[in-house]
Subunit: 341 residues, 2 copies
């Protein structure tokens, strides 16, 4: 007998293994799938052989036969702001948690980033590929209607995003409007009166945050919240922020940034223009990403529970996969007071 793992015989499929084990392919399939009704001895023998030859049943074939793939699609639609920072921290963090959670549940994750403008068919294409059992959409971007359409005819889909009264697709997300109110209230409590919202208000989540801040301004009889649009990529955003700041210097004493990333950038620009935070201008972010603790001074922000979001997405998706109909899940935001407001 030679010493090396006797992989001299190539085992390419269940049939090869069956021949080696002296049983039928059906039995091998049952044994490897951990099905009941297989003789303990037979099973052991088959498992030993499989191990020895490093054999694993082909998931494609199995998937085709069983009409399920064990794969969940995760798709990130990139809206108008195509070059949106690829590493957008929030989405990437969510993706990390999703990967963990799906793995825990025995699913694989197929990731797709799409540009809806170039491919209006992005969602159907993914669903229709036959490669995935269900889909998680990260961010509605500007594709709300597209998603609604699909939701009517396709069950196993859950979306991370903003909840709108009466919508038909199942969504998981933070109560952005409430979060926006919290941010604005904090800015005002810290002494601000003339508030600006920093960030693009086109995406629904951001629009809701903006609306929440506006709610508060209106209720308290303060001037309306000023919208200061920016892109999401750091380079462009920095320039835009600098321009906004110059244009409105002195007219603003509170800034509610749409995300922590934007807030951090803003902090840098404020310092550059010699504006003291929180003395001259109060500032809040949104998300509570790690960076929020590391800015100088550390950022007051509105926390989203990303881990809970990921768990919620996967939990709801699995329930839908099992045929349940599910309600959307709206998570509560939490104000984290640090030093910028």
């Amino acid at each position: 007998m030679d010493e090396d793992k006797s992989t001299r015989v190539m085992v390419r499929n269940i049939t090869d293994l069956a021949r080696l084990a002296g049983v039928s392919p059906g039995t091998v399939s049952r044994a490897l799938a951990g099905k009941s009704l297989v003789n303990a001895k037979t099973r052991e023998k088959i498992e030993a052989l499989a191990r020895e030859h490093g054999f694993r049943p082909n998931q494609m074939a199995s998937g085709l036969r069983r009409q399920k793939t064990g794969v969940i699609g995760v798709v990130i639609p990139l809206g108008h702001d195509t070059r949106q920072q690829i590493s957008d921290s929030f989405f990437m963090t969510l993706l990390g948690y999703l990967a963990d959670e799906l793995t825990r549940q025995g699913y694989d994750l197929m990731l797709r980033r799409v540009v809806p403008e170039e491919d209006s068919d992005w969602l159907d294409r993914f669903i229709g590929s036959g490669m995935i059992d269900g889909v998680i959409v990260i961010g509605q971007s500007d594709q709300f209607d597209r998603i609604e359409d699909v939701a009517d005819g396709y069950g196993p889909m859950v979306v991370w995003g903003n909840h709108t009264e009466g919508q038909r697709h199942c969504v998981v997300g933070t109560d952005n409007r409430l979060g926006g109110r919290m941010a604005a209230e904090r800015l005002i409590a810290a002494g601000a009166q003339r508030i600006a919202f920093l960030g693009d208000t086109t995406p629904m989540e951001f629009a809701a945050r903006f609306a929440g801040a506006q709610d508060v301004a209106t209720r308290l009889g303060l001037p309306p919240v000023l919208a200061l649009p920016t892109h999401l990529s750091p380079d462009r955003a920095s320039e835009e922020i600098a321009a906004h700041l110059s244009a409105h210097a002195g007219a603003i004493d509170g800034i509610f940034a749409a995300t922590d990333t934007l807030a951090a950038l803003c902090l840098t620009e404020l310092r550059g223009q010699g504006i003291a935070v929180p003395r001259d201008v109060k500032l809040t972010g949104f998300d509570d990403l790690p960076i929020a603790r590391q800015t100088v001074p550390p950022l007051t922000t509105v926390r989203q529970d990303i881990a809970a979001g990921a768990r919620g997405l996967v939990d709801l998706l699995l329930r839908r996969l099992a045929g349940e109909t599910t309600e959307s899940l709206v998570l509560p935001p939490e104000l984290v007071v640090r030093e910028t407001a």
Copy 2:
């Protein structure tokens, strides 16, 4: 005729569509795959029908038949430091670029995060799943040997990590040792004499960075570089950094942090302990992530070209898929001088 998209007939497969079109399944297959030798009229008819019914050929079946899936696996092994920040910015950024690059090349991306300690079989399992045409491993972690073993018998694999003389697997990565030298040289040029390396030196990349710094200290006759190990998760790292700083206060005037993330954390702790940067202690990071520009003062660091790395990984993988044998790709680091050293 009724108004709605006449999706009354469900088209579940190529055979259904063939029936509608009055042709054979084979012809439909050819038409939809864009093969030559199909009558223009026939092709148009089939394409129109497919569009009308939102039909798309099942990729699983196609994959099974053609013995290729159009999917590239991307796996992130989480070493000993299991709870390594899920959102580890560097890997996540790389992942984003990989997603773009693979999409551009017409491939889908299947993502898997694995804990080798709990599953020694992680790599074979992924490869053997039959779901992927090739695999990109992000980070060697402490799995160098495992990867070497696999490389002997499996071609389409490329790894992001550190290059070691004579290794057998194809790797793409920055010249970490050179980067380490650059960082140390900069610290010294800025006036430091007693240098410490902040971070775990177990992963090969970090070990190489440390070794590079050590090279410089040795060459210049300075005291050896002190290793200050930490975990990667922000919470633990902060504590550990604080402890290191207290223990070695005054004995260190230059810190080379293994990553920008660690450097940013370190900066916060230094400030907390009233140590001025760069006056009392010089500091450099590694990576040049966005955060490096936003710390106060902004971080001097060693830049890795992540986009080039992603392109390299995909390019080499596709070449190997095509049967070529490829050399590893070592990318040059670049010193970015800001204000901490």
